[in-house]
Amino acid sequence: MRTHPLGDAALLAELGTRLDTALNTRTIALAAALKKRRDVRQAIAGYASVTVHFDPDQTTYDALTAAIKRLASKRPPMAEPGRLHRIPVVYDGPDMEAVAATLGLSPAKIAEIHARPIYRVFLVGFVPGWAYLGPLPDELELPRRHMPRTKVPAGSVAIAGRQSGIYPLATPGGWHLIGRTSVKLFLPDLDPPCLFRAGDRVKFFAAPA
């Protein structure tokens, strides 16, 4: 476990650097434990790290690092399997042709590979309703776009690295857009306002245009 400063009132606690379900379960448990502390304002679970916003009037970077190391060494509670969501996708995204060319696969094959696994919701964040899903089959692994788009349409289904996701709102974004879905992920009048929760499972299936 390593920590790094994120300015003077936050830090990043890295439990690992691998995309791994067990690591993610420990991460979610650590974030939940940190949220209960008085000196912590917010703890955001990533894939394998927790971003901790703290009150510098109540603690210091070093003291909180020591406390996080103690918490991270504890055995996390058993995680229950999350809810399963089935999401229809029209695989006609604006980056489909470019992704197909880069990977040397046909668009139909990319759709088939993308819809094959049951993904885990590793984290919810970025913008309201966004969920990071993984692991993406390694046949589809690509780095993020060189230059992020300033606006991605809501409902876009995207891939980057070993991850997949759906843009819930029209936002900037640097992932490759391979399809779109009509399912609403951002539900502003519910609390939490998101369809997906960390630990949920997602299955995509190809839908006609």
Partner: protein
């Protein structure tokens, strides 16, 4: 965006620091007081006028019913704040009255204010309303100093010595892609390439370096998670200055220690606390 200006304006009218207020970007509104009220204008100078006469900024001002508060034009900076004694009433969403336009929630039904809107007062001020209270110029952020203090971030080691010198030495320009989410900066490119990162939680002030090498400074409405390397984070005391930048402005970053950043934070805290007595 400029939390210092928001807090100061609220304290000047006797509110809690985090009460809802109006944020004016680049130009100010034309307001008519329907009832008498105490207001304070902070942040950048948009040349505020009351019934046409120059009005003081960073000062509690009493308005009588019928008084007009207008702004003659921007003289510096990007954002001015108007606080009203009792706070501005608005929709509360996820525990905040802030407007989040992307989701169309909070504030005035999640949208910009428009001509004809009636802005109501939420309640009673928490402290007795006294006009004439003022925050001295020496206690305000130095908005003209565009050298933002920053603390080395989790992925600083991805920059080589020359890259680190570029980050903490060269001048960047705020591009046209600049909003409440963040500012894309233009300047000498930075190479922070390496293995793809797993997405992690972000904070305001984080300086991300995408593969293009042109950094992005995250602001108030930033995404909560992302996977680009974060090479540094602007200190909380410098974020009010960052909030006042506009496209075309030049900006640079000076590396400071956490201890130095906390001293500057404490000085700002003391300036705000001086308004609480």
């Amino acid at each position: 965006m400029d939390r210092f200006a928001l807090r100061a304006a609220n304290l000047l009218v006797g509110n809690e620091e985090g009460a809802a207020a109006l944020e004016c970007t680049v130009s100010g509104p034309q307001l008519v007081a329907l009832h008498s009220c105490l207001v304070a204008i902070s942040g950048s100078d948009f040349d505020p006028r009351i019934n046409g006469e120059a009005a003081p900024t960073w000062t509690g001002i009493f308005l009588s019913a019928g008084d007009e508060l207008t702004f003659a034009g921007r003289r510096s900076g990007a954002r001015a704040y108007i606080a009203v004694g009792g706070g501005v009433a608005g929709d509360r969403w996820l525990g905040s009255v802030s407007t989040y336009m992307l989701a169309e929630r909070g504030g005035m039904h999640g949208r910009l204010l428009a001509g004809g809107d009636v802005v109501s007062v939420a309640g009673e001020p928490s402290a007795p309303a006294v006009s004439g209270r003022r925050l001295g110029e020496n206690l305000r952020p130095d908005y003209a100093d565009h050298k933002l203090r920053a603390i080395a971030g989790p992925h600083i080691r991805r920059l080589d010595a020359a890259g680190r010198k570029t980050l903490f030495g060269s001048v960047f320009k705020v591009s046209r892609d600049a909003d409440r989410m963040g500012y894309r900066l233009e300047g000498q490119g930075l190479d922070a390439s390496g293995d793809e990162l797993l997405s992690f939680g972000l904070v305001p002030g984080a300086i991300q370096v995408p593969r293009s090498g042109q950094p992005i400074l995250l602001m108030a409405d930033h995404q909560t998670a992302g996977g680009y390397p974060v090479v540094a984070t602007v200190t909380s005391a410098s974020m009010p200055v960052a909030a006042q930048l506009l496209p075309g402005n030049e900006v640079s970053f000076a590396e400071v220690s956490i201890e130095a950043a906390l001293r500057m934070r404490a000085a700002q805290r003391a300036a705000l606390d001086s308004l609480k007595s």
